[in-house]
């Protein structure tokens, strides 16, 4: 199976080409440059290096959230359009699972984490079981303080992973002490090769209805729902 995997859910961008379980090419960029400008040229470059054309692919695997809203939309739109236009299989994998897959050789609970501002984070809980990465608590938008309180109750070792972990390291240590473990800066970046591995067994989804998992309503919708009932207002988008 020939897989293209892509993740632009945060500042780092990672793209990989995997054929029959082997990574042929992988590139991770961690410069602050717009994903819009660099994603497709990188895909093109890596496919060329792999001696493949886009139509030769079987499957596109994309990190579909949570993450930066604009970033998610770049990879998800690229993935769903590519899959739709060339009739390839499409698979969405949690961008938190993608990060968690970078924490190897640990029995700890793995907590991938992204800054969601105002002391909130996007986070999930994962664990390796017989070589498979298991999601033990769903990805969600949560106050950092609440997440740390829940983890303290578990009384199990926890490995934190993700580019934003450094920002919260002091707060995490203060709350969890020796229970908290951290990975190095290289493992903290998403690696699309791992994303491809996670996505090679997953069931494909239809591209037309595929959207990012934002895990948060927009602020406008949240405020509107405080005083309105959602019923009777749909459809919000109509073909005219």
């Amino acid at each position: 199976m020939k897989i293209l995997a892509l993740d632009t859910s945060n500042q780092a961008m990672s793209v990989a080409v995997m054929v029959d379980g082997q990574v042929l090419a992988e590139m991770t960029l961690n410069r602050k440059k717009t994903h819009s400008e660099q994603l497709l040229p990188t895909i093109d470059h890596l496919l060329q290096l792999s001696a493949l054309t886009p139509e030769a692919l079987d499957r596109v695997v994309v990190a579909d959230g949570p993450g930066s809203y604009t970033g998610l939309r770049i990879a998800v739109t690229t993935a769903k359009t590519l899959a739709d236009t060339l009739q390839l299989e499409l698979v969405g994998i949690s961008s938190l699972a993608t990060l968690a897959a970078g924490a190897l050789r640990t029995k700890d609970i793995i907590v991938p984490l992204m800054d969601a501002r105002r002391q909130n984070v996007f986070a999930g809980m994962y664990q390796w079981l017989d070589g498979a990465l298991i999601n033990v608590a769903a990805d969600r938008h949560v106050a950092l303080e609440q997440l740390l309180a829940e983890l303290a109750l578990l009384k199990q070792p926890v490995t934190f992973i993700g580019g934003d972990v450094a920002k919260f390291r002091d707060a995490i240590k203060a709350r969890l002490g020796a229970q908290a473990h951290f990975v190095d800066a290289v493992s903290a970046l998403p690696q699309a090769g791992r994303l491809a591995l996670l996505g090679q067994q997953a069931a494909p989804v239809p591209p037309a209805t595929f959207v990012p998992r934002y895990l948060r309503l927009t602020e406008a919708e949240t405020n509107w729902l405080k005083t309105h009932d959602d019923k009777g207002h749909a459809p919000y988008v109509e073909k005219v």
């Binding site: 497709l40 809203y69 998800v76 769903k80 359009t81 236009t85 037309a208 990012p212 207002h233 073909k239």
Partner: protein, 340 residues
């Protein structure tokens, strides 16, 4: 390879996701428009993050519908075109990303199109354009007088210094309790009332061709608030008629002034506000007395609002000039024509 030139065009600059197939720059084979108005009505205006999310939901569906309705396949296409600005960056990025991906996947040239050029070239579906021509571009985001000196060559000769005309409609509409977008309803009420309030015609009669609508908007809001404070009820129809008369007067006067300074044989009225009946009537009447030889071209309502067919028409001109973009194409939210 087919003899026909077929452009698959994308438009997602604001709150419409649209994909079209245009043949030879003049024939619309399909023009799928998914409008989000019903969603943004909840908030009284377009919320950029909500708009971006809807575009992602819609984009591939619109592509497939556009190809199916046009009865063409990817193999038949000559090029892919997309609006890359101006507009909301998050919205623009969905069309740009999808268009780039389709072009890349099918080894097709990618044509970047200025959204404003698209609005002007919507007129090409009505009749052939004669250069040089003058375009009055009026929409929710823009109010500009543009000289089109040759195919695809644009120069701004006048523009709004603050609010766009359409924006002013939405703001005073809110004061009248009209849900977003207000243009159509204000236009309807205006036809039932009289210009009794005589709001200011800002910059009218000045030597330049620029516009200003924020003073008019403030005068309108102050009038209504003052009446509220003294417990007086003003006639909504007269308010709408007075507002519309002020907007239309300035648009018509400045257009006539532009025609005096820049002799052309064709005037194109472009953008969403071109659907306004009051503007159409006043402009036609003014031309009949002052410039009877000038041919006014106003696209049908479906083509004055945002749609991808107009992007396909503008792309036809760019294709002839071989103006292509590569896979690094990005959205340019503040893209504009050069000032003359």
């Amino acid at each position: 390879m087919s003899e026909r030139e077929l452009i698959l065009a994308f438009e997602s600059s604001c709150d419409e996701t649209s994909v079209a197939v245009v043949e030879n720059g003049v024939t619309i084979l399909s023009n799928i428009i998914a409008t989000q108005i019903n969603s943004h009505k909840r908030f009284g205006g377009v919320v950029p993050e909500v708009a971006s999310r809807h575009h992602v939901e819609q984009i591939t569906d619109c592509i497939n519908l556009a190809l199916a309705e046009a009865k063409v396949s990817y193999a038949d296409l000559t090029a892919v075109a997309v609006t890359y600005g101006p507009g909301l960056v998050g919205s623009l990025l969905i069309g740009v990303t999808a268009a780039k991906t389709v072009a890349y996947a099918h080894h097709l040239p990618l044509i970047p199109v200025n959204h404003m050029a698209g609005h002007i070239y919507a007129a090409r579906f009505v009749k052939p354009l004669v250069y040089p021509l003058l375009a009055l571009m009026v929409s929710g985001g823009h109010t500009e007088l543009v000289m089109v000196t040759a195919p695809g060559e644009f120069a701004i000769i006048g523009e709004t210094r603050d609010d766009a005309a359409g924006e002013a409609y939405d703001k005073i509409g809110r004061v009248l309790g009209i849900t977003y977008p207000a243009g159509k309803e204000v236009d309807r009420l205006a036809h039932l009332g009289q210009d009794t309030f005589h709001f200011p015609r800002a910059m009218d009669g000045e030597a330049n061709l620029d516009f200003s609508f924020s003073g008019l908007k403030s005068a309108f809001i102050n009038t209504v608030h003052h009446a509220d404070q003294i417990g007086e009820t003003l006639d909504r129809n007269d308010l709408a008629a007075s507002f519309q008369a002020a907007v239309v007067d300035v648009l018509v006067d400045k257009t006539m002034q532009a025609l005096r300074e820049h002799p052309v044989s064709q005037l194109v009225i472009a953008g969403g506000v071109a659907a306004n009946q009051g503007l159409r009537e006043a402009m036609t009447a003014a031309l009949a007395t002052q410039f009877p030889a000038v041919d006014v071209v106003i696209p049908p309502v479906r083509l004055t609002g945002d749609n991808a067919a107009m992007i396909g028409a503008a792309a036809h001109i760019e294709l002839a000039k071989q103006h292509f973009a590569d896979e690094t194409l990005n959205a340019v939210p503040n893209l504009n024509f050069a000032r003359a």
